[in-house]
């Protein structure tokens, strides 16, 4: 594995969101929230969502985790904001394909904007669950599930 692959994982966008996570605070007025846990890493985060009609109006998160999981959560809170529920769930699906390297359509990848920075994780199978943790938690919040553990929903056979 080369330094270039590592550069692709830890892109400046990721490092920046790791250093200064956006929307990093609790949200008392949230419509729903969920905890995400990654037992084998010790990562834990909470994601809060304020839904307004059919739209995801606002998101925030807090927790501890590696750069990948923190940046992924931070990017999520910005990217999903303002989307309809359907759009948000479609993006959740897309991101899973991105993390696992299944999304190869360059048009789709380009359309992701800053989220595309997370695609570098697909070369690191052991880190996929770091990237997907916040997304699992977001979906769990929308579904009213409360808690989610990456050991369960992991999209790769490698949990």
């Amino acid at each position: 594995m080369s330094d270039a692959t590592l550069d692709a994982l830890y892109q400046e966008v990721i490092l920046d969101h790791n250093r200064r996570p956006r929307n990093f605070h609790p949200m008392p007025a949230a419509s729903c929230s969920a905890d995400g846990k990654n037992p084998s890493c010790g990562d834990q985060l909470t994601i809060w969502v304020r839904v307004d009609g059919d739209r995801v109006a606002e998101l925030s998160f807090q927790g501890i985790g590696c750069a990948i999981s923190k940046a992924s959560a931070s990017l999520l809170t910005e990217a999903v904001k303002g989307k309809t529920r359907t759009e948000a769930l479609a993006l959740y699906e897309t991101m899973h394909r991105v993390f696992t390297g299944l999304e190869t359509d360059t048009a789709v990848l380009k359309g992701l904007g800053p989220l595309r920075a997370l695609s570098g994780v697909s070369k690191f199978p052991m880190r996929v669950k770091c990237a997907s943790l916040a997304w699992h938690a977001f979906k769990a919040a929308l579904d009213g599930a409360g808690t989610v553990s990456t050991e369960s929903g992991a999209p790769t056979p490698v949990s």
């Binding site: 199978p125 050991e151 056979p157 490698v158 949990s159």
Partner: protein
């Protein structure tokens, strides 16, 4: 009528190194193809690390090797959901896993556990001891004619309080292939008055099938068999020792308490309590036997390349030959069903006036390895009225020559002891 080897002897380093050896104890353990030994060496040379635990690429390779092996073995066994295939040391541990984790939680006084007279100790003693420990009743379905289980008697033992019906797929002592579908139908019907085995699962007894002697010889579509649990051993199908597995319904595994505690199987360990990892990890505490899994997967590849239908045809032919050759010798008694097509490659016999252990020793000196003893089936030997039998068993490398050498050695043994 002459049957050559299905697999070249050269594929098996031990057989290649001893060209005169007639190895007829494959039901105890098979010889290993070179590809299995090579897979083990390759794993340790290219991918060895502790799986599931490291973030580095070598650990990812070890994890992939282990989980890919699980997928491979599951596919071989016709198991759609690989996470319902737990790796164990072998069939014995598989049965003990069920008896400990499921049994201790589910069985109590007034319940009963049903086994058959033909079970290997591995599928007999765990249930006998579970019954003794929980106050449940232990029931044994007796034999029918010529190496079969009396299905009517079996049916009569099963009721709404039956918690487990444990039966073999193929008998290691007699080679009988049991009618699994029929047994499942009977057991489901008779135990239907019991509680469901779990959400969305059938009511009644847990149906446990011991596949140790079936997996090496038959196409075992485990999901399609309709049982709740299925056990097997890797070393009986060309794989390494120390690995085997248990296939069990997801709903039951998820509801069941764990079996052993330690690394990998936990989710969170608090000071007072713990929570468990998802399947299959919940039931695999500690560093797994990656080498074993990788070797077993290579054995599945090898066996599938030979073809399970070809293996079956090969063994039926040899079994028929052996039964004919031994049956033609005066003073030899054959045990089990007379029809080679209803048995796997196992021929159990006795020589009048010569104890089985003397037979095994005499045959050994003639270069023919057979097993003499109770075959871990003392309850069966008791009702058969013999202390032991001689057993010859075949696999893919066995040939008509082996059968001829066996028959010849039997005649020489008779001459010596006459």
């Amino acid at each position: 009528m002459s049957t050559g080897p299905l697999a070249p002897r050269a594929d098996f380093p031990l057989l290649a190194a001893s060209p005169d050896l007639v190895y007829l104890d494959s039901a105890a353990t098979t010889q290993k193809p070179a590809v299995v030994l090579e897979a083990i060496r390759r794993y340790y040379t290219e991918a060895n690390a502790n799986p599931h635990r490291g973030a580095y690429a070598l650990a990812a390779a070890a994890t992939a090797a282990y989980e890919t092996a699980r997928h491979r073995v599951a596919r071989f066994l016709g198991v759609a959901d690989p996470d319902t295939l737990l790796f164990t040391r072998g069939s014995t541990e598989a049965m003990n896993l069920i008896a400990t984790a499921w049994g201790r939680a589910q069985v109590g006084p007034g319940d009963n556990l049903v086994v058959t007279r033909m079970e290997h100790h591995a599928n007999f003693v765990p249930w006998q001891q579970l019954a003794l420990a929980t106050g449940a009743e232990f029931r044994i379905a007796e034999l029918g004619p010529a190496g079969t289980i009396d299905l009517e008697h079996l049916a009569s033992l099963i009721d709404a309080r039956t918690k487990v019906v444990a039966f073999g797929h193929v008998s290691n002592a007699l080679g009988t292939i049991h009618p699994v579908t029929e047994i499942v139908r009977i057991a489901r019907e008779r135990s239907a008055g019991g509680a469901p085995l779990g959400p969305g699962l059938p009511p009644g007894a847990l149906l446990v099938c011991d596949g140790a002697q079936a997996v090496p010889h038959l196409r075992c579509a485990v999901d399609a068999l309709g049982v709740d649990a299925y056990a097997f051993s890797g070393h009986k199908i060309g794989g390494p020792m120390g690995i085997g597995g248990l296939v069990m319904r997801r709903g039951i595994l998820e509801a069941m308490p764990p079996y052993q505690f330690g690394g990998d199987m936990i989710e969170w360990v608090e000071d007072r309590t713990s929570t468990w990892n998802v399947l299959p990890h919940k039931f695999e505490a500690g560093t797994p036997n990656v080498e074993g899994a990788v070797g077993l997967a290579a054995a599945c590849d090898y066996v599938e390349r030979l073809g399970l239908d070809a293996i079956r045809a090969h063994e039926v032919a040899l079994t028929a030959e052996a039964m004919a050759a031994l049956g033609a010798i005066g003073g030899v008694t054959l045990f089990g069903t007379p029809d080679a097509t209803t048995r796997s490659g196992v021929v159990s016999f006795a020589i009048e006036g010569v104890h089985p252990h003397d037979v095994a020793t005499t045959l050994d000196v003639a270069g023919v390895c057979v097993r003499a003893g109770h075959h871990c089936a003392q309850p069966l030997m008791r009702v058969m009225g013999v202390p032991a039998t001689v057993r010859a068993s075949f696999w893919v490398y066995s040939t008509s020559d082996d059968v001829a050498r066996l028959a010849q050695a039997v005649r020489e043994t008779q001459a010596r002891f006459a």
